[in-house]
Amino acid sequence: MITLEGITKTYRMGKVEVHALQGIDLEVGEGDFIAIMGASGSGKSTLMNIIGCLDVPTSGRYVLDGTDVARLNDDQLARIRNRKIGFVFQSFNLIPRTSALHNVEMPLVYAGQGGRTALAREALSAVGLADRVNHQPTEMSGGQQQRAAIARALVTNPAILLADEPTGNLDTASSLEIMRLLAKLNAEQGRTIVLITHEQDIARFAGRTVELRDGRIVRDEKVAA
């Protein structure tokens, strides 16, 4: 599903060159649930941006679901993000003053797909928010907002679900609720999930843990479920 080969990323901050990623090789298979861990500054955000097609690597090869995406332009990347990646963010990132239903419909709008309302309602039901479709983000709890965000990520039926610290802004109960939902999606629907976190408890839900330090993978182990 995901193949990273010798991915490097170098930023220029003023006159200093920052080598955020220094040769990442990673293979994620279909139906995998992988947690990427690391302290801040380890390069995990950069890796997530590249896996999420929000940024392109300085060098290396990235094949996502059969498409080499390392050298695409902005609009082509937007298309890949729309079709193949579902994002779940730490701060939910729902569009304010817009109902849950419209938020979930939005990726379909950019995909130019018809029958949006039905698909969006279905996705909201799948995350247990069938009774919250017309609620605006401010009218929902953090856990509910994150579930709406997961519905938005899934509505286009993407190849991977990319969750960046999905529980970072939630209390323990809501965190567990969200993680159980993700685990269920992985187990029951075979969703490929890439989870980015720095919390050991959260990473435990994944079947495989990859640890990053100073732009390199220092640990990659399967965890018995």
């Binding site: 929000l54 937007a78 729309n82 994002f87 963010f89 990132n93 995909a111």
Partner: protein, 407 residues
């Protein structure tokens, strides 16, 4: 989607629209006033008759060829009028009449009034396009016999005969008695010299009793062409006849000048058009100011919604999607403002004549023209587009990662 963004900030959207609304209202209203002036001038000139041609004496040349000013020559004679009326060389002229002007105090009973007295011949109603309201116009016989009869306009009736039927009454002009034999139907029109403030008498009578020592002067000849379309031919024919009669071969030395109603109309129209353009341009400035307001608000909106733009990009919006969204928002703002402005402008234009301050003056009734409405709407939408491009482009170029990180 664009509507969502606008509704989220109702107050701000309303104020931004107000800028465009005021601009468009100003354009619609001022152009309507300009149009109204144009229509007013047009009606006035048309009421004089569109196929009328005036012949004036030109500048008299004193000793050494010194010009003595417009109309000082006494070059027009009754014979000139007769020659034009013979219609041998001028098939396009219907009739020509001589005009002799005289001013005078007019009295009836204890009323008195001042109006110019015009001496002319029996074809006056035909040439100048007057209808009779009452009585009849004088005949050729009245002219030959120097009868002391007059026909008066409605303004004179109003001032001298507030309660009496004027026909058959005797009025005094410069202490000479004249019998009123007819009243013209009102022609309306205000401004330069009302068409209804007239006293008309046989030219021979005016010469005999009113002009006195100045003698038998013809101040102008008025001719009418068969139709507005033949005015130019009729002018050429009259020029030929008069040049021949006055033995002039060089047209620049002619001792007479022709002016058609069309010439006056053209001049007046070009003045009115210039007026409309100037008013429109002034109002247009306020539209541009409104447009800058839109740009301002759109820039604030883009900054404020940076994170939203980041989210949209993350879930698959292309540059063009973001660009189009913000352009539509700007155009909806300006288009809506424009539509409201048109409504307000049209309403004010309609109500303007009912406002007493305008009703009593000769302020032209504003005329809202369809092209100005269509143009104002298109321009306001175009302003939204133009002033929206920069902010929308800025939004579209935001990098998704930075936009997502924006707090």
């Amino acid at each position: 989607m664009a509507a969502n963004g606008l509704l989220a900030n109702r107050m701000r959207s309303a104020l931004t629209m107000l800028g465009i609304l005021i601009g468009v209202t100003a354009v619609i209203l001022l152009v309507a006033v300009g149009n109204g002036a144009s229509v007013q001038i047009n009606n006035q000139v048309q009421s004089l008759g569109a196929n009328v041609i005036y012949v004036y004496p030109s500048n008299a040349r004193g000793a050494g060829g010194v010009s003595q000013g417009f109309g000082t020559a006494q070059s027009l004679t009754q014979e000139d009028v007769d020659a034009i009326n013979l219609r041998q060389q001028d098939p396009d002229v219907v009739a020509a009449i001589p005009i002799a002007q005289s001013g005078g105090q007019i009295t009836f009973a204890n009323q008195n009034y001042f109006a110019p007295t015009t001496g002319t011949t029996a074809d006056f109603p035909l040439v100048r396009n007057y209808q009779m309201a009452e009585g009849s116009f004088f005949t050729s016989d009245d002219v030959t016999s120097l009868h002391r009869v007059v026909v008066i306009g409605q303004t004179v009736v109003d001032n001298l005969f507030p309660s009496t039927d004027p026909v058959g009454q005797t009025i005094k002009i410069n202490r000479q008695s004249f019998r009123v034999i007819g009243v013209f139907a009102p022609k309306g029109g205000t401004g330069f010299g009302s068409q209804d403030n007239v006293v008309v008498a046989p030219i021979t009578t005016v010469w005999a009793y009113l002009t006195g020592s100045r003698g038998k002067v013809i101040s102008q000849i008025v001719a009418s062409a068969a139709s507005p379309g033949t005015v130019t031919q009729a002018e050429t024919e009259i020029t030929t006849i008069l040049m021949e009669r006055h033995q002039i071969s060089d047209p620049t030395q002619a001792d007479f000048q022709l002016q058609s109603q069309q010439d006056i109309l053209n001049q007046a129209t070009s003045i009115a058009t210039a007026l409309t353009l100037v008013l429109g341009a002034i109002a247009g400035i306020s539209l541009v100011v409104g447009g800058i307001g839109i740009m301002n608000i759109m820039l604030v909106t883009v900054t404020e919604r940076t994170r939203e733009i980041g989210i949209r990009k993350a879930i698959g919006a292309r540059r063009r999607d973001i660009l189009v969204q913000f352009l539509i928002e700007a155009m909806v703002l300006s288009g809506l403002g424009g539509a409201l402005g048109i409504a307000v402008g049209a309403l004010l234009a309609r109500e303007a004549p009912n406002i007493s301050a305008f009703a009593t003056s000769s302020f032209p009734t504003p005329v809202v023209s369809v092209p100005s409405v269509v143009l104002a709407f298109c321009v306001s939408v175009a302003i939204g587009l133009f002033f929206g491009i920069y902010p929308a482009n800025r939004a579209a170029r935001l990098h998704p990662i930075e936009a997502l990180r924006y707090e």
